[in-house]
């Protein structure tokens, strides 16, 4: 018997949520004497309807309705620039509502039961206890393809310095960011004002070494922090829906940030290819408007990397910079605009 679905009796007196009956959230028929009759009308995931939690937590559920975790609007915004108006309508109806949106998180996915990913169900987080946070059993699952294993070093072989120092997701990504701020996000996650910034904790000008001071001063507004401090390879996904399905491999790519075209940063390949939405009847008329590489914040930050140790790695060797030869075959025409060639240092 799978024990994860049983509520531990010892919990009942300890958690205020259990002062209400099971039916308060899960509905069903509490007077039913058999499993079948008791489960009639049962709601297995009550928080999918935010009104369940609304009753007591309106201060949280109200802004949460606009958060990216709930709306998954970021997924739509990430790709909609490739569509004509007509295609966008088809995408919204056939793809977004039926596929992308199935990924959305609700209260219970983070506070009661770990989300099911790829059919793997790890069950209740702590025996139906309502937990404030448990990143390893929640964030780690939905973000387990790229961010989390990079953070812990399981992907790439070196952990993020913040994890090494005992920090986990919520130490940087505060609840205000997770829960939303009542402002509907229309352009994607970069628009979220509560996102963490390196400079919230690491002000430039406070470096302990002359090398660090000079490097930060010289590269101010020209490089993102990740460009130098990403510690190693991160996962890029390729060829989604290109006949064989997506594939992933380690990458480390430096180029211009497609959002400003002037800052050099780490780029990650996104898997949308020309025929990704062909099965839905979408040809992506504007495919070439958006690149296949997007700025990314690899979660494998290190104080020292080969680029912080040696200027030559970038300025002489031009290691890991995107070049015309390295561009994806049959990729977007917008990719070329991200190529940046570092100049040799004047001696």
């Amino acid at each position: 018997m799978y024990k994860g679905f049983l509520v531990d009796k010892s919990l009942l007196g300890k958690d205020i949520h259990f002062s209400e009956s099971c039916g308060f959230c899960h509905k069903g028929n509490e007077k039913g004497s058999t499993r079948e009759t008791a489960h009639k009308g049962l709601v297995t995931k009550p928080s999918r309807n935010l009104e369940t939690c609304d009753k007591c937590h309106e201060d949280i559920t109200k802004p949460f309705k606009t958060s990216l975790h709930f709306t998954t609007e970021g997924q739509r915004q990430g790709v909609s620039g490739r569509f004509s108006q007509k295609e966008l309508k088809i995408f919204n109806e056939k793809v977004f509502e039926k596929s992308c949106k199935s990924c959305h998180a609700s209260c219970g996915d983070c506070h009661i039961k770990a989300p099911i990913i790829g059919g793997v169900n790890t069950g209740l987080i702590k025996g139906h206890k309502f937990v404030k946070k448990d990143e390893g059993k929640t964030c780690a699952l939905c973000h387990g393809g790229r961010v989390y294993p990079e953070f812990t070093g399981e992907y790439g072989g070196i952990a993020d310095i913040h994890y090494q120092k005992g920090m986990v997701c919520v130490d940087c990504h505060k609840k205000e960011e997770m829960h939303g701020s009542s402002t509907a996000i229309s352009k994607g996650r970069k628009e979220v004002t509560e996102r963490p910034r390196c400079t919230n904790c690491h002000q430039t000008g406070q470096e302990k070494t002359e090398h660090g001071q000079t490097a930060h001063k010289t590269h101010k507004d020209r490089l993102s922090c990740y460009a130098c401090h990403a510690g190693g390879t991160y996962r890029s996904c390729y060829d989604c829906h290109l006949g064989k399905g997506a594939s992933a491999k380690p990458s480390f790519i430096l180029g211009l940030n497609p959002r400003d075209k002037k800052t050099v940063t780490t780029l990650r390949v996104i898997p949308t290819v020309r025929d990704t939405f062909k099965p839905a009847g979408i040809a992506m008329e504007s495919f070439d408007k958006l690149p296949n590489y997007w700025d990314t914040a690899p979660h494998n930050i290190r104080k020292r990397t080969e680029r912080t140790r040696s200027c030559e790695v970038c300025h002489d060797e031009k290691k890991d910079f995107l070049t015309k030869e390295l561009l994806l075959k049959n990729g977007s025409k917008a990719n070329e605009s991200l190529i940046y060639t570092p100049k040799p240092i004047k001696k």
Partner: protein, 297 residues
């Protein structure tokens, strides 16, 4: 018969002098849960929990600091379980508040051999960094829990130190050194017999087989089923049976990645008194990538 008698006499003499090996230390190399409980507030003792951050946060030994395994051994140059750069390693050691006079007690999981040897790899790395007083909690956090010892979720903030040292580079040897030492040093393959015999291999190791003339001494033979170490006499018997009783002879251990072999290396040097034990860090993962490196299948 006479040969057996002589061997037994040599073994007896060795065991007799074993305590001398630990006299140079302020702590035994393997401590039990009772000792650690009595020393939880000893200001010289720094308990380092090397489990994952999430596991540590769920509960740990009171006053233990968390420096998870991936801080001590990284992927480098395509090889697993390599040393971080010295300045990064010194930052890690300093961030735990460890100084040359500290008594460092290492705690980890002991579910399986890779977990158990996470602990010995960190111990060997601290030895490389010149810390003399390193101890391993026998049976790790599993034993601490089994013995119903106190658990905390408060994370102490260690007083960071600026740690600098000249590492003992001889403790980790490179492939060229091992090749030159063949026929002179005793090379010990600590993998399980099927791996030593060439029946099995891990995916990332290019070929089945072993370094020619290597002796097989599986790391699993050093542990009891509950993850605690076997008694000293049993360990000595296993080691002396494999590599002999010459405490000064050079011994080089290897495994697949340079982690599991730190188990016997730590026990040989810190508990049993062998003076000249080295770890081949690249191990089979590196060795089998080189077609010129001698290898027998």
């Amino acid at each position: 018969m006479r040969k057996i008698k002589v061997s037994l006499f040599v073994l007896f003499i060795c065991i007799l002098f074993l305590p001398l090996a630990s006299l140079a230390r302020d702590v035994e190399p393997i401590v039990n849960t009772t000792w650690l409980e009595q020393n939880l507030n000893n200001p010289k003792v720094i308990i380092v929990d090397i489990r994952k951050v999430e596991e540590y946060k769920a509960g740990h030994i009171p006053n233990a600091v968390n420096i998870f395994y991936g801080s001590w051994a990284i992927m480098k140059g395509g090889l697993r379980n390599e040393l971080p750069a010295n300045d990064d390693l010194f930052d890690v050691i300093g961030s735990a508040g460890i100084g040359p006079d500290s008594i460092v007690v290492l705690v980890g999981k002991t579910d399986a051999i890779p977990d158990r040897t996470d602990i010995t790899r960190v111990a060997w790395t601290l030895k490389y960094a010149g810390i003399p007083n390193i101890a391993i909690l026998d049976g790790g956090y599993n034993k601490w829990m089994a013995d119903k010892k106190p658990v905390s979720t408060d994370a102490p903030k260690p007083k960071a130190t600026a740690f600098q040292t000249k590492p003992n580079e001889n403790l980790f040897v490179k492939k060229d050194y091992v090749i030159k030492s063949m026929g002179k040093a005793t090379i010990v393959d600590v993998r399980e017999p099927d791996f030593y015999k060439g029946v099995k291999k891990l995916d990332f190791v290019a070929k089945t087989g072993r370094i020619p003339k290597a002796i097989n001494l599986p790391t699993s033979q050093s542990y009891k089923p509950d993850g605690t170490f076997k008694d000293k006499a049993e360990l000595m018997s296993a080691v002396s049976g494999a590599v002999g009783t010459d405490m000064t002879k050079e011994i080089i251990t290897y495994c697949d990645t340079g982690k599991v072999c730190t188990g016997w290396s730590f026990l040989m040097t810190e508990l049993l008194g062998y003076k000249n034990v080295k770890v081949y860090d690249g191990s089979s993962e590196e060795w089998t990538k080189d077609p010129q490196a001698p290898w027998e299948q």
